[in-house]
Each structure stands twice: as C-alpha cells, then as structure tokens.
Amino acid sequence: MIVAEHLTKRYGDRTAVDDVSFTLEPGRVTGFLGPNGAGKSTTMRMVVGLDRPTSGRVTVDGRAYADSAAPLQEVGALLEARAVHPGRSARSHLRALAATHGIGDARVDEVVAMTGLSAVARRRVGGFSLGMGQRLGIAAALLGDPRVLVLDEPVNGLDPEGVRWVRQTVRHLADEGRTVFISSHLMSEMAITADDLVVIGRGRVVAQGPVRDVVGGVGGASVLVRSPRAGELGALLERSGARLERRDDGALVVRGPDAAAVGDLAAGAGIAVHELTPQQSSLEDAFMTLTADAVEYPTSPSQPAGPPGSGPRPAGQGRPDEEARA
C-alpha cells in the first residue's frame, strides 16, 4: 500500500507537485493520468526516494521507501527516462541490480524470460529499441518480486503486442494481490488497464476514485431522449430536478435521473418516448474536462467511492490509435 500525504515538490519557484494525497490499495491497478508535465514522474520519483519532497511525505507499507531493508522487494519501479548504461548487456545490468539484494542469477534469468528478452539478454543495451528498453525496465522492476509496482509510462514505445503484454502483466500482478501504480497520458490505455484513477493536472490532483466514478463525476453520464412532446417532457423533467440541454434536432440531453427514471416519468405523464439512450462520456472527455483548467476543480475526490471494482468500465470510447492531445 502506498500512501501519499500532502506531497509537494518545488523546483525554485515552479511547483511541480502541489499538495498531492492518495492511497493505493493492494490488488488494484491505479492509473496515474495527466498531461505531460503534470507532475506524474516527479510524484513517482518521490515514491522511491529519488526526489525528496519539499513537504509532505509518501510511505510504502507504512514507512519511507529508503528505510526498507530490502527496497527492491517492496517496490519495483520503471521510471520514464532510461535508467541503463548503454554499454552493459541486459543481463549484466540486471545482475548488478540483483546483487545489491543478494538475488541470484536464477531470478535474473527468470525475469529475462518473463519479459521476453532471453534472445537479447547478452547484447549491449545501447542497441536496444525503445520497446526492448521498456521490457528491460520492467524486468528490473520485477527482480525483487515486489509487493508494489510503480510503472511510469510503461507502454511508451511498445508495439501493439508489447502493449497487450504490459496490460496482461499488470492485470496479473494486481490479481496476485500487488499494488500497481501505472502512469500514462493515454486515456484509452487507462480505461482498459486501471481500476482506480488519480488524475493530475498542473501538479494537483483534480480527481480520484474508481474509473467509472471519475468519468461519471465530470457530469458525463446523461440520457438522450426523443419525444414528440419534448417540450412538455422537458418541463416535467426540470421540475423534478434534472438538468437539461435542448439540442437543435429536438432531442433532450438529460443529466441527473437515469434512463429508467426518465422513462417512468414520461410514462406517468402519458408522454410517448421515441428514444431513450443512456450515454456515458469517455474517459477522454472526462480527462479533457478535468485538466482543461486545473484551478477550476478543487483537490478533492470527485465522487464518494463506489464499491471497488464493481460495474462495467467505460471501455471502447478511447480508440487505441488516438494519443493524448495533451
């Protein structure tokens, strides 16, 4: 479990991370979503002690990462920038890291095989593609069989097969009861991979909670209604407290009640309904809204948390080929 409390990091007069608090639970994949430069990497670097917070603190299972006797067994980290000497072979790189914990060559060969690097393990890393470099970074993160994984942009530079592999690996690791913290600026990726979200913009948390709640909390969930007596139905809905948007083609976009409530209300008044479609905004919409102006949205959970892991995730809205506009 990772607990960040009022984490703040300033570089001179620039505040990279501003009063960030969150709790990451075991067995769940928490997506860390934000535009580039929002403070994701800095936050993750503070988790493993590479950067010292200006104020606030972050603990792993109750204590600072640096106080662990066996840090690699607590947290496995893949950080965004390459952390490998290009002149060393992949295997030598992993052996050197493993040696600090007395982890043997057998485990090194195991993570090499797990990440599909067996064929290139003895080649110098300088000749690796970005994707192979990412796999090596993930291999290093897995070395200590850690309880917590911190993965900064792990799908960056991976081919579709690699992206799929990361997605499955991350899911598998969480299902084993590990805490997985995975950052991305790709909303589509997070929609598929994450259970929970921490959305960050300009160094501040703008929303957090289960993916569905974050998306719903932006006012995304709505019902599209078409009726020959749209005017009457609209007035009725407004009296019941719903928020309305009247579209030019005569349809109503209703926020507040769900489709069933709208249908019941219409039936009760004897109003025919020709279309009644629940609509959910995509994670992408939510993200753009949330990060459009971080100042507009206070630092608080967007919604009271629903039952963990319940309900369908808003899959399918994000197209895999669509990268962040951030």
Binding site: A83, A96, H101
Partner: protein, 273 residues
C-alpha cells in the same frame, strides 16, 4: 550494517536485505561489465609496465646513460605510474559520472535508496583495482626490465623497495578515489576530469610559476601538500627536501580524499538523483 538489518523484523520472503558487501559486489559487476573499464585498466597496466622499459633499454645499450655509477634503483620501475595517474583519474571519474549520463543512477539509487553505500562501494572496488594494477604493473616492470639491467637490476629485497612498490599501488588507489569523489561532486565527466587532472598535474606547476613570478613564496610552499605531490612521495626511493615523508604524504592525500569524499556523500544524500 548487519546489526542494523538484523534488528528489523524478518522478511517473510527470504530476507534478501541490502548489505554493504552486496553493494560492493554490485559495483564490482557494474565496473567490470563495461568495456571502458577494461580499456582503462589495460592502458594503465601497459603504461606502468612499458614506461620503465625505455630507460632500461637505454641502459642496456650504454650503461653510462643513467649517469650514476650505482645503476638503477626501484624508482626506475615506478616511472609508469605517473601515466597511470591520468588513466586511473579518468576511470575514477567515469565510474560515477557514467551513472548520471546514462540514467543508470536512477536504477542504482532505487535499489540502494540510502545512497551512501553506493559511493563507498564504488570506492572500495576502484581502490582495490587501482592498487592491484599499480603493484602488479610495477612488479611486471621489474620482470620485464630484468634482462635489460642484468646484474645491475634493482633489488626488491629491501624494505624501501617494498615501500615503493606497495606505495605506488596505494598512491594510485588514492588517485582513483580522489577522482571518484570529484566525479560524484560534479556529476559531469568533462568537468570532473578537468578538475582532477588540473589538481594533480597542472596546479602544482601553475603555483610554482605564479609564486616565482609574483614573488609569493607561500604558493611554492603549498605545492607539496597538493594531493598529487603528497601522494607521490611514497613512490620515491629517497624523498628529498619534501616537508612530507612517504607515509605522512599518503596521509595528506587521504585527508584530501576524506574532505572531497565527505562533501560528495553529503551532497549525494541531500540532492535529488
């Protein structure tokens, strides 16, 4: 270290804790799995062995070339260590700056977040390698020049000879440690190499000349206390005129290393990686 770790609750998954010995092993793997290390060590050994061959060859051709009637002493075998100062200075700097230039330092410090053991372990590995190359190199130089000097070959069977041979190794270890400390302070290879070689090779001459030109005697008096000069006394068969003896010279060099290394450790702990 072991007392501190055993005080913690046992790790349910085998207790593979970080210990200083393991960090040393890690740093040994790191240093020896880079080609640049082997190049630096090979060049160092080559220089230490080959440089003394030249005067030996001259002596073989004309025994009068050495000037003195007594023949060569052990000091003739350590001439190559002056070149080794450069190669090991560069190696010491690179051992730490290449972590920053490649980003490897992020992986390193994530594995050993206390950070200080990393620098100390690098020091242990570098010092052992440098001392080994220095001593082995000088002994090889003795073997290689043996046929050239013939009956006049310097004897290793004296306390002074062993002081010079072992001292050469210690002095080179000191150079590597000094370079490591400067590299850790500056984090940039170019800057650190310039500072190390400047401090060891350029500054003494500059101070002498400046002291002479400006008439400031103090400049000249400082020179023997510079790390390069102080550390070199132990490699001289008959130290002359120096205010420092062989061992006090090494101590002064050790003090330089302690001050620069201490500053490097303090910065390593306080700075972001």
């Amino acid at each position: 270290m072991s007392a501190a770790t055993s005080a913690r609750p046992a790790d349910p998954r085998g207790g593979r804790a970080v210990t200083f010995g393991r960090v040393v092993r890690s740093e040994r793997i790191k240093l020896l799995t880079l080609r640049s290390t082997w190049w630096a060590l090979a060049l160092t050994l080559l220089a230490v062995v080959a440089v003394p061959v030249l005067p030996a060859a001259l002596y073989a051709a004309d025994p009068a070339s050495l000037g003195g009637a007594l023949g060569p002493d052990v000091g003739a075998l350590t001439a190559g260590t002056e070149v080794a100062v450069i190669t090991l200075g560069v190696l010491g700097v690179l051992a730490v700056t290449n972590e920053y230039s490649s980003g490897m330092v992020r992986a390193t410090m994530t594995a050993v977040p206390r950070r200080t053991p990393v620098l100390l372990a690098k020091g242990v590995v570098l010092a052992v390698l440098a001392a080994l190359v220095g001593v082995v190199g000088v002994l090889l130089a003795w073997v290689v020049t043996l046929p050239l000097y013939g009956d006049a070959a310097p004897s290793l069977a004296t306390a002074t000879a062993w002081r010079v041979v072992l001292g050469s190794g210690l002095r080179l270890a000191g150079v590597a440690l000094l370079a490591l400390a400067v590299g850790a302070l500056l984090r940039s290879a170019a800057g650190a190499v310039a500072v190390v070689l400047g401090l060891l090779l350029v500054l003494p001459g500059v101070l002498q000349v400046a002291g002479f030109a400006l008439g400031v005697e103090a400049f000249g008096r400082v020179v023997p206390f510079l790390p390069g000069q102080a550390g070199a006394v132990v490699t001289q068969v008959a130290p002359t005129g120096d205010p420092l003896g062989p061992w006090t010279g090494l101590l002064v060099m050790a003090a330089w290393i302690a001050v620069l290394g201490g500053a490097a450790v303090a910065l390593l702990r306080s700075r972001d990686v």
